[in-house]
Amino acid sequence: MPDFLLEIGCEEIPARMIQDASQELQKRVEELLAKNSLPHQGIKRLETPRRLAFIASGIPATQPDVQEQLTGPATKVAYKDGQPTPAAHAFAKKAGVDVSQLQKVTTPKGEYLTASVTSKGKPAAQILAELLPKEIASIYWPKNMYWRAGKPERFVRPVRWIVAMLDGEVIPLEFAGIKAGNQSRGHRILGPQQVSIGSPSQYAETMTGAHVTVLSGDREYKIRKALDAATRTVPGARWREDADLLRTVVNLTEWPSAILGNFDQQYLSLPEEVLVTVMRDHQKYFAVEDAAGKLAPHFLAVLNTDGDPDGLIRHGNERVLRARFNDARFFWDTDQKIPLANRVEMLKAVTFYKDLGSYAAKAERMAALAAKLCATLEKSGQRVDGGAVQQAARLAKTDLTAELVKEFTELQGIVGGLYAKAQGLPESVATAIYDQYKPESTEDSAPRTLEAAVLSIADKADSIAGMFALGLKPTGSKDPFALRRQANGIVKICAEHKLSLNIFELLRAAFDLYDFAKLRAKPIEILKFELDIRLFFLERLDFYLREVKNFPYDIASAVLNAEKAGGVNISDVSDVLARASAVSALRDSADFAAISVAFKRMKNILRQAVETNKKVAEPFNPAALKDAEEKKLADAVPGVAKKVKELSASRQYESALHEISRLRPPIDAFFDKVMVMVEDENLRAQRLGLLQTLVNEFSSIADFSEIVTERNS
């Protein structure tokens, strides 16, 4: 069975987009093949900045033939006096068979004619040529362009060639005005401009000959080896791992190698953060450290060529880095002339957001919100240096006026922290300023200190509240203010610092700190705001439980649907986590599974009762119950409920769940012997009332009915 190769030759695709696009193309092709009954024995993705390619191996040369049974007119219409009517002839013609080959089938609606038809499978080549261009055109790009006159299509950059081959045969597909062939192109500088591909199985090897390593994994391996080799020239040195940077250079090169360059010792007097940012973000260099882990005066550049025998490339890169470091030092020195404290006033001229005022106002609100947070935490027994938090909040944003931050925006906060330290402010203040934007991603760590945690939460809550108040909540893939990331940050900080605070009260307080009248902004209704915030954080908590903490989805749903006093019980992140852990620990026990099934049953019965307008006695009257089993269950409830409440109050959720499991025998007995939906209206209402009480009393830790058990999974 033949292999199929597609290579889309393109002008340099942005590094950040290559892998996603390549994966999407693979997925699209898998779906296309499956939909068209063309099974494959594996799809291999290959991609470089100048090409997206894949090889689908072992696909059939043609689709299998398909037998189909067509239904035609009713027999009584199709035959008159035993002779076929025009209707029968027409059907036979449509099915492509002789009238004599038509058969009859009896259905509940009567007797009908049928014809059995074989549709011939189409050649794979034809299907691919017809359908692949649409898939190529549908690849999602964060930013795309048009280039041909009349704007017939958009793609990330102009497509310049296409290779499409089923074994040795060229598939005549066409995209963006380019007809596919068997001609690829080699490395821009090292390779030949035209490369003939003999067959898909020879593709990778042929491209290697043209100085293109088409497998990203192979390029990564090559880069790692090259970095190791270059670093070995400095005794004791190591290059600093940087997964993001590595990914970037893998996607910036077709034929990578690496060089080690040097910079003057004198620049090491600048903070490491600044030097590393310049190297990584602006020059895509890897930093090198000495045996003690300190930054060493070297850098590693990954090249898209086979080496630097004359040292010309190293020389050029050293020159550029020197200029960059000079700039950074110039900014650092300039900034020291105005201490952070003198920059507070300058923040009045820096807009936070159009309708949300200046950063000076934001700093004020952050300080006020942080004070509230500190008070709440003190109450729950956590000691925070409130004075340090206040000072940090007032200075936190002042580095936005610093030249160094204007030049290297990614260093906001960090520069403020470094300046605070350099200007003799207390360590706790400097650290809080330094860590205020943490965590900047799901992988990033939470702020190191409690003071920094409070500052970070206050900053994020203020931004989220302000944007939501203006109705600027994230929608779909659009989140221009990174509010999801900030909310994820709040959740993570609360969880990791074990902060006992109510996030909805926090956001409400943040909302109230805005003086919208003074800002001449019109916020949305407060009830709408609270609802939006509630749904938003529910999503973020679900994300945190599932994606960060790896809880199964049903545990996340059970915990997030837990009810407390009529509302959903999710305001406190550490409490949510504690409950999820408890449920997770017990979910495999037999009693717990049985309880889950029972709760599902109760909820179903109650739902049906509501749907059919049956009365539910709330509260139920124990005296009105009749059977022994229901009385026993009703008797058991108050004692267990009391214990569960006590244990929950001190967050001993595992014990509380054990306590609930003890209800299993009476519940099982109840369902075995007692019929709920009886004719007797009053008795039915009392029984429904008993079930409702059970659901109400025991759903505050988790909604057990959400748990997937083996019996119903």
């Binding site: 002008e11 340099e12 942005p14 590094a15 950040r16 900045p49 930013k143 795309n144 362009m145 048009y146 280039w147 041909r148 006159a149 009349g150 704007k151 950059r157 102009p158 310049r160 821009r188 500088i189 090292l190 910036l252 090169t253 020059q283 260099y285 550049a301 090249l303 898209n304 060529t305 630097d308 004359d310 010309l312 490339i313 020389h315 050029g316 890169n317 020159r319 550029v320 880095l321 020197r322 200029a323 000079n326 700039d327 110039f330 001229a349 820096v350 807009t351 159009k354 200046s358």
Partner: protein, 298 residues
């Protein structure tokens, strides 16, 4: 085709009419010119070895871009003596956007041994108008390339000229330093904020008035094609460029708060968008009157 630099202050070669206006409409165009580009806020009193208040761009517009435009570009590097086999060249994503011109495009910064030497952009929109055909814009940073070729650490060390007899050299410092120093002083310290605002407003209102007149003329059924074609939209565009430069000057002077900034950018953008639209309409007047004449003769 080679053109001379435009003789009004601009922040980039893109703003010269040879780019901003010529990229509009369907007519193919290929041009290259050096454009002195003034960015008051980039001034460093002649102290910084890599930054200039006024730098030179070699601006190339290829409309529509030929299929081998990247290869042609690489050839141009060879032509100035760069042996690509001995260097590391990368095309790294860099999209370009000019909010004052309502213009944007996608492309790359071209990196040569870690140095950004060219901005390569496929223009998609200009003056708020979708371009069709699009064009490729290649902007070479001449000082940087010269410093690279001569292997000097500072722009001011570039050898600008050499006396063929004595061999005495004139460095870029000799021809440019004073300009950088004094203009930095002017832009950061001396420029009269109030008067500059006044200038800005005068240029703005004059430019807008011309645009309005043209639009009235366009709507006037009795106006002749000739009257429309001779209307000085190019003058209105020069006035718009003046506004843009004065805005940059006020910005460098620290006279525009962050809040005001957005508003002022929107004002210049309004002129640019109005002009682009008017220019396209004016070009069409010519095309249509030619068609009509042809139709009349037949």
């Amino acid at each position: 085709m080679l053109q001379q630099p435009y003789d009004i202050e601009v922040g980039a070669g893109t703003m010269a009419p040879e780019t901003f206006l010529r990229v509009l409409g369907p007519k193919p165009y290929k041009v290259a010119y050096v454009q002195p580009s003034r960015r008051p806020a980039d001034g460093r009193y002649g102290d910084n070895p890599n930054r200039l208040y006024k730098h030179m761009q070699l601006q190339v517009i290829l409309k529509p871009p030929p299929e081998n435009v990247q290869e042609l570009y690489l050839e141009s590097l060879k032509a100035i003596g760069i042996d690509l086999r001995k260097h590391d060249i990368k095309f790294e994503e860099d999209n370009w956007e000019a909010p004052t011109l309502a213009a944007w495009g996608v492309g790359w910064q071209v990196m040569l041994d870690g140095l950004e030497i060219t901005q390569f952009t496929y223009f998609q929109q200009c003056g708020g108008i979708d371009l069709d055909p699009i064009c490729a814009e290649l902007t070479y940073g001449l000082e940087r390339i010269a410093a690279f070729l001569q292997d000097v650490d500072s722009i001011y060390e570039i050898v600008w000229a050499k006396d063929p007899q004595s061999g005495a050299v004139v460095k870029y410092r000799d021809v440019r330093y004073q300009d950088e120093l004094q203009m930095s002083v002017s832009n950061f310290e001396k420029a009269d904020v109030e008067k500059t605002w006044k200038h800005f407003e005068m240029y703005e209102s004059e430019s807008q008035a011309l645009i309005n007149q043209f639009n009235a003329l366009l709507a006037d059924k009795n106006a002749t094609a000739d009257a429309k074609q001779r209307f000085p939209l190019l003058a209105a565009y020069e006035l718009c460029l003046k506004c843009s430069h004065l805005f940059n000057l006020l910005d460098a002077r620290g006279a525009i708060s962050v809040t005001e900034r957005v508003g002022v950018i929107a004002r210049i953008r309004q002129l640019a968008v109005g002009l682009a639209k008017a220019y396209v309409a004016q070009q069409n007047v010519g095309v249509e009157s030619a068609k009509q004449q042809k139709g009349g003769a037949a």
